[in-house]
Amino acid sequence: MNDRPSVITRLIKGFGQFWWDFLVGDTPELFVAALVTIGVTALLSEGGHFNGAAIVVLPVLAVLALASSLLRALRFSRRK
């Protein structure tokens, strides 16, 4: 019996693998941080009165996400 997955299965798996590597890869913290950034901005902009706060929060959270990911990389390199 042929245990090799079908072409469709391999295509779907390859497609999923591509998007996983593309968006998550070895930095899951950045993926989560981007979702949190968008979520917090959505909450702020939902009311309509917090446009000014949303304008500041979006880039600030992006910078914080990058900083925390760089710190994680630094800690990891110290351990090596």
Partner: protein, 265 residues
């Protein structure tokens, strides 16, 4: 409305359009260059080692499949509501941009090895030489060239379609990407070897800054955030992220330097 007020508005709109276009062109061009340098390194390694026929066939088929994907998904995206599209595109660009920025900062500070096109070329050549040449069509060479061009090209296409559709300038984005691909291809023909002399990390850092800029802007637009100054905000965001990147590089270089002194002492 007075003539002078109308004139001011016209000047402001013209400035907004041109600043948005400059950032779009810059982001697409640099991203396409970086990805195509990586693809070209693999194709050149395959061509030099196993012959050009399979390398060109693999490249050609990959380009055909990529064109079919653009034809299938490009026009369909126009029908997605703009706010949803911009939120999705903004999120993807924010993640992708931060990944690129992180990687380039770590490489600039020595915490991560630089992307070495020479090493990739040598590694690919060694892999190809280790496998025997089969008579007839060279399947391994074809697959390697196809995968290299397809995977790197797919990233270019995602950026072109997402950036181009959200900015309502898909034609411009595609044309800029095509120019970048042709330019990198011509460089490959001229040097006929790996493209290690291209300052890839500096390019990657610039693209990272532009992608995070667009990611921030469009995530906000998708969430109905009203940016002061409209499209001109892009330039301000790009400047902020560039300064922050520079500060991160300085801080990490100091940390790495201090660590080296501590190790040597």
């Amino acid at each position: 409305m007075s003539d002078s007020a109308q004139k001011d508005i016209d000047v402001f709109i013209a400035a907004s359009v041109s600043s948005g276009t400059v950032v779009l062109v810059g982001a697409v061009f640099l991203a396409s260059c970086v990805e195509m340098v990586e693809a070209l390194t693999i194709v050149l390694a395959v061509g030099h080692t196993r012959g050009w026929r399979s390398a060109f066939e693999g490249t050609g088929v990959a380009l055909l499949v990529l064109s079919a994907l653009v034809a299938a998904f490009g026009p369909a995206l126009v029908h997605v509501p703009l706010n949803i599209l911009r939120l999705f595109v903004g999120g993807v660009l924010l993640i992708f941009g931060m990944q690129w920025l992180r990687k380039s900062i770590l490489r600039a500070t020595g915490l991560k090895a630089k992307h070495d096109e020479d090493a990739i070329y040598e590694e690919t050549v060694a892999t190809l030489r280790a496998t025997g040449v089969t008579p007839g069509r060279d399947r391994i060479a074809f697959v390697l060239a196809f995968k290299g061009v397809f995977l790197e090209g797919l990233e270019v296409i995602i950026l072109v379609i997402t950036l181009g559709t959200s900015a309502h300038r898909l034609g411009l984005a595609a044309a800029v990407a095509a120019i970048a691909v042709v330019l990198v291809g011509l460089c490959g023909v001229i040097v006929a070897k790996q493209l290690s002399s291209v300052p890839e990390n500096a390019l990657k850092m610039s693209v990272g800054i532009l992608l995070v800029t667009y990611g921030t802007f469009w995530s906000g637009e998708g969430l109905r955030v009203r940016w002061p100054g409209g499209d001109t905000t892009l330039l301000g965001l790009a400047a902020i992220y560039a300064v922050v990147t520079w500060l991160f590089v300085l801080a990490l270089r100091r940390e790495v330097g201090a660590r080296r002194i501590g190790t040597n002492a």
